[in-house]
Subunit: 241 residues, 2 copies
């Protein structure tokens, strides 16, 4: 059995906060726990917040914003993006500097600390996960995994789903190739995106508006050394570039 | 807290089996449980299994198979598909007659009952889910949801993740539009694909090779009337057609 526990009662996070201390104080961790953290509080703790007032939009940002969008927000999106995958103003799907493909290059106004500010993705979500894991393990003397999450849209499917954008101490991809099914058939093309499924499970208790940005997935047995970057499809395999 | 319980000890399912009886006998259900079922056993119970020996591949199937693929399998894929989205022999991403976009139009050789057979998607996964839910509710006198799942690949991301292809009795999309976050910012574009996240959570205990095709997600509080088709992006909104 797996348990997904919401971590309740966390204080509002601001720049410079010690997330490891905040989380370790809020929940008693056990060996093997996977601590899932919505990137928004990681970004806030790391100061990855931009005030739109100081942003001068480029011509391209104005185009992408169209009539309905805020060209200053689109300017921030362009600065976070290395490639625009699709756009229909004011909607932009972009590849970020972290090689993630998502809406608005991960730039988000919801749950921002102040009006007229936007929150960016962490500069390096895997490094953030590794730091947080080290802090949690030092404070709790438990061996844990950390997954940093964001909710992404998906082609062809409605609704957003939580995925892993950074990870540390967890088996991110579970490779079943070479394993045989009960009929003796060798399973092919069966690499499971375990960390994405963990992120999705965590979101079931997070609730975007309920200020529960952290959940613990317990009972998984998935200690490992994967990273969020392991989930990024290499360009040469990508049928959708 | 949410619990994800594997349903162990299920017998091998064959055509004509009463899945409701099999599952109700294997696990004591509670009100509000969401019973997640890998489509493979639904398809087997419904006789959606094809013997490749009788299949005459078309020229197009031979093209799509390339050197490495089985043209008979690709012929079955073509019969299940309404549109080929991408192909690189022997890999095909197709839209199925059920409007799902996935590898091989959902035609799969792994966990097939016999060598040289393939398993198709259920003809109508939402109808299958509704029937199974009715059978479970009648047998157990509990109010439950049912999600029929398959593991899909995703553009830009490595690994497959479990998603909901059919559903009954569950809130499939959770619409947070109009809800305000703690800072008072109205959440936009925030419709959560709850049933896909439930499917992903279920897969954490299913294990493709361990003959655990059923899991129960308990504690979710997501009774509703959504269907798997609710998760299909309408063509006019789809930036990736």
């Amino acid at each position: 059995m797996i348990r997904v526990l919401p971590v309740e009662g966390l204080p509002e996070v601001t720049a410079g906060d010690d997330l490891g201390a905040v989380i370790a104080d809020a929940v008693p961790l056990e060996d093997g726990d996977v601590v899932c953290v919505a990137h928004k509080i990681v970004s806030k703790a790391e100061g990855r917040v931009v005030e739109l007032a100081g942003i001068e939009p480029s011509e391209r940002a104005r185009e992408l914003a169209g009539e309905a969008g805020d060209p200053r927000r689109l300017e921030v999106v362009l600065r976070e993006a290395v490639r625009i995958v699709r756009s229909r103003p004011p909607l932009v799907i972009a590849e970020t500097r972290q090689r993630l493909v998502c809406a608005s290059a991960g730039v988000d106004a919801s749950n921002a600390p102040l009006p007229d500010t936007v929150v960016l993705l962490p500069e390096d979500p895997d490094a953030s996960a590794a730091r947080l894991r080290a802090a949690l393990e030092e404070r709790t003397a438990r061996r844990v995994g950390v997954v940093i999450t964001d909710t992404f849209g998906r082609p062809w499917r409605l609704g957003i789903a939580n995925v892993a954008i950074g990870a540390s101490g967890i088996e991110v991809l579970r490779d079943l190739r070479g394993v045989r099914d009960p009929a003796g058939y060798e399973l092919h093309a069966t690499v499971v995106a375990l960390a994405d499924e963990v992120a999705a499970a965590a979101e079931l208790v997070m609730g975007k508006t309920e200020r529960i940005p952290v959940a613990v997935v317990r009972g998984l047995d998935a200690t490992g050394e994967g990273t969020g970057q392991d989930l990024v499809m290499p360009a040469e395999l990508d049928l959708f570039r």
